[in-house]
């Protein structure tokens, strides 16, 4: 049985078994803990890996958006470049006409390219020839010298020039775009591009619900942002970690270097990715609030958590059911054993699980049956002990003789014996002395009663009445009686010798008879004997009275049974009290064989 149910616990054997037992709880807990641990562990592992994977996937997506935004901005710049480029043409015409043509071209450019605020032409020697503007008056032939200005030199050398971003009046972002002439045209067209138009482009880039795209130039200055006022404020982002990291990297960008988790201007956590806008040396950043960017991840985490909880709930349920199925038979065993232990020996444990527990229950039941049998035997024994010596009681119990309380008639052999001169002796001796004598006497007698399996009828003082063939039948009751008497006589004879040494003069006599008697118990409910009534008893008693010291007197009926092995001497007929006719009395002289041992 489980340790939980033994020990100092008060017994739960009251028959009302509820599933809330400790063994049940233990198993249920163990199963749920086991399954839950496995679920949680596997869930955590999965979450960890999917977090990493999702994070890199989302970053990749963000990077793609940044690349798309970069492409859009590049497109804008390329369009301006294209539009300015349309104004270029080889000069095959005289100077003045070329100028007029250029002016018309520039009017058209201003119409078609709203981002261009001013466009000017600087001739091959570095002097400005024409300036067409939206804000200030057009200037023709100013001759201003830009020979050493990068906006002239760079397009001449490299074909194209993109100035760093500058702010007009401190708050309007511009860049100067220079394009070198084609073919024989060695002049340069310079356009002032209002970058607020990039703002349009940037603000149209949708990055989820709350994400943003913005651009910084090569120095980290914000040049485009959905919130234009940040641009106008010339916000410097070069210190922001993600900007710093993006700008300081040169060369190819690896996929794991495209961004990560950063903090934006409002100090919120965002997923930030960037992409370069190559010809300009600018960088586009696409940032989404972490909560939005990671929404699919959080969703899957929540899903996993819910599944986990459901799984745990189911496992708890399963554990409860499983534990119940295991514990119930054990409980049945425990309760059954408790009941049996408390005395209900007819209780049978009912367990039908088809396994070792059922076998155990069966074994228990068999044990209970045997227990019940032995208990019954013990009960019978204790009943019998009232009547018989323990030894005899055992024999009777094992022979399964039942209902000895009923009177019945049987042919028995009765033995009466007593001590000669006992009365006289007891009246003058000290009580202690008398008791001592009686003790020794009965010890000697008892040592023979038992082996010969005599039934003690009654004991009165020094007189003992025993009989054979009831309640246990035996094949040779008379022979046993005689042999026992002879043995008794020998033992008691030794005792008498020792008593004589003490100055006690006593003798021993035995009378044996055979015949039918009525047997049963006499007395009250709690104190009774099992004894034999009949003339056979009387005869044995009278014979004993007649016996002198050392004599064993038997009747003719007895002689008939023991003639073979006993030498007898006839003492004639004697008149015995209670018998109408004189009875032949015989004395046992000796046994013919040396068989004085018990016959059983």
């Amino acid at each position: 049985m489980s340790e939980a149910d033994t020990g100092a616990e008060p017994p739960e054997g009251d028959g009302s078994a509820t599933p809330r037992s400790r063994l049940f709880r233990k198993y249920a807990l163990m199963f749920s803990a086991l399954v839950s641990t496995v679920l949680i562990a596997s869930g955590l592992v999965e979450v960890y890996f999917s977090y990493q994977e999702t994070k890199s996937a989302l970053l990749h997506i963000q990077r793609t958006k940044a690349e798309a935004a970069a492409a859009v901005i590049e497109q804008f710049v390329k369009e301006v470049e294209a539009q300015v480029g349309w104004t270029l043409h080889a000069t095959f015409v005289p100077h003045a006409e070329a100028l007029e043509q250029r002016q018309i071209d520039y009017f058209r450019l201003l119409r078609q390219a709203p981002a261009v605020t001013e466009v000017a032409y600087i001739d091959a020697s570095g002097r400005e020839q024409i300036l067409v503007s939206r804000l200030v008056m057009d200037v023709i032939g100013s001759g201003k010298d830009y020979a050493n200005d990068p906006k002239f030199r760079t397009p001449r050398a490299e074909g194209r020039y993109l100035s760093p971003v500058y702010f007009r009046k401190g708050s309007e972002p511009y860049l100067t775009f220079g394009l070198g002439g084609r073919g024989r045209d060695k002049g340069v067209t310079v356009a002032e591009v209002n970058l607020k138009f990039i703002w349009d482009v940037i603000s149209r880039i949708k990055v989820g619900a709350a994400g943003r795209a913005f651009a910084v130039d090569s120095r980290g200055l914000l040049i485009a942002h959905p919130d234009i006022s940040l641009v106008l404020r010339k916000t410097d982002l070069s210190a922001a970690p993600q900007v710093k990291a993006a700008l300081t990297r040169t060369g190819a960008i690896g996929t794991d270097d495209v961004g990560g988790i950063a903090r934006d201007l409002d100090d919120r956590q965002v997923l930030s990715a960037h992409a370069p806008i190559m010809p300009l040396g600018w960088m586009v950043f696409v940032e989404s609030p972490l909560s939005e960017a990671f929404a699919p991840l959080y969703d899957s985490l929540v899903r996993t958590a819910i599944l986990l909880l459901v799984g745990i709930a189911l496992s708890v349920l399963a554990a409860l059911l499983l534990a119940r199925r295991i514990v119930k038979p054990i409980q049945a065993l425990q309760l059954g054993a408790a009941q049996i232990g408390a005395g209900a020996l007819d209780h049978r444990i009912d367990v039908r699980t088809g396994d070792e527990l059922e076998a155990l229950a069966e074994d228990f039941n068999q044990m209970t049956v045997r227990l019940q049998e032995s208990y019954n035997n013990v009960e019978r024994m204790s009943a019998l002990k009232r009547y018989f010596s323990p030894h005899l009681a055992e024999l009777i119990v094992s022979s399964k003789e039942t209902d000895l309380t009923e009177s019945h008639r049987r042919e028995i052999t009765v033995v009466f014996c007593d001590i000669r001169n006992f009365t006289e002796f007891s009246s003058i001796a000290e009580p202690e002395e008398t008791m001592r004598v009686l003790r020794e006497y009965y010890k000697a007698l008892g040592s023979h009663l038992r082996p010969f399996e005599a039934t003690i009828g009654h004991i009165a003082g020094d007189g003992l009445m025993a009989f054979f063939n009831d309640p246990l039948p035996c094949p040779d009751p008379a022979a046993r009686a005689v042999r026992m008497s002879v043995a008794m006589q020998e033992s008691v004879g030794e005792l008498i010798k020792s008593w004589r040494k003490r100055g006690i003069n006593l003798g021993f006599g035995v009378g044996i008879s055979l015949g039918y008697a009525t047997l049963g118990h006499i007395g009250s409910e709690d104190q009774f004997h099992y004894t034999a009534i009949g003339s056979v008893s009387n005869l044995a008693s009278r014979l004993c009275d007649e016996a002198e010291h050392g004599q064993i007197l038997i009747s003719e009926a007895v002689l008939a049974e023991v003639d073979d092995f006993v030498d007898v001497k006839s003492l004639g007929e004697r008149s015995l009290k209670g018998f109408s006719k004189p009875v032949p009395v015989l004395q046992v002289v000796r046994l013919k064989e040396s068989a004085t041992s018990p016959t059983s």
């Binding site: 119409r111 939206r134 804000l135 200030v136 008056m137 009046k169 708050s171 006022s229 106008l232």
Partner: protein, 323 residues
Amino acid sequence: MRPLIVIVTVAISLLVIPVAGDAYAAEMHRVGTLFPPVIHKTFRIEVFKQGLRDLGYMEGENYVLESRLTGKQDFYRPGLAKELVSSGVDVIVTSEIAGGRAAKEATETIPIVVLNCDPYDVLVETLARPGGNVTGQTCMTSETTPKKLEFFKMAIPHLARVAYLYNPKQPGPTLGLNLAETAGRSLGFTVHPIKVSDAGDFEQAFAKITGAQVDGIFVYHDFVTAGERPRIIEFAARSKLPAMYGFGSWVRAGGLMSYGTNLAAMYRRAGRQVAKILGGETPANMPVEQPTTFEFIVNLKTAKALGITIPQSVLLRADEVIE
């Protein structure tokens, strides 16, 4: 079981009620406006509200407009601004330097958004970082005066004498006059200043223009001249004089031509600025926004009525041609 139900119910209501409450107990902001009454009748105020809507502010739900109007010409009386301040507005929106000044006098703490076309020096430290409680939009009317006159001269090549109709009481028109005179010298015409300080001066001004025998009128747009737009257009038509205005609305109303920024866009941007201020940003760090586009608009019908043919090269530069 019962205590658990009670606890769960209480927890849920504590979570739900604030969320639900957010939708209703949203602060009702008060936007104070100090405009000439005419603005309230035009599309501009609607576009302004659109700007607020762009950033999630709905009239009646998150804000109410509080106006101080006066029938008289002193739309920007400081007293009106003070009234707005004492009525507990969260932001004041006004136009012109005059309005900006009046509002600034009335409060140094409540944010002010100004729609102003003149130099901002008196109102802010720099355009990029205004530094105080004033920010807004600029339309660069005074700075673009030479450009306007350039277009005027390009369209009307014979232009030699130009009447410059303006309000001398404000710094912008006066600055514009200086620029106009300089431009006239390089473009080849003389500038004749005609002063109008309020509505009552116009009769006299018109008489002066007729008397000065000019070939064209240049109107400097501010609240005084804007207040008499129909009269001016009608006068120019009557006198058969070409005129150059500051905003497209004049051309659509019958004027000949204009060069200036898009007013609707400006009002919308102003609306967005107000929305950002209601959202908690400070005007000190909110840059004054310059216009992104300028429009050259020509009304060919008016030109026809005046008997003028506008050169093709000029029409090439027009952003809008009204037939």
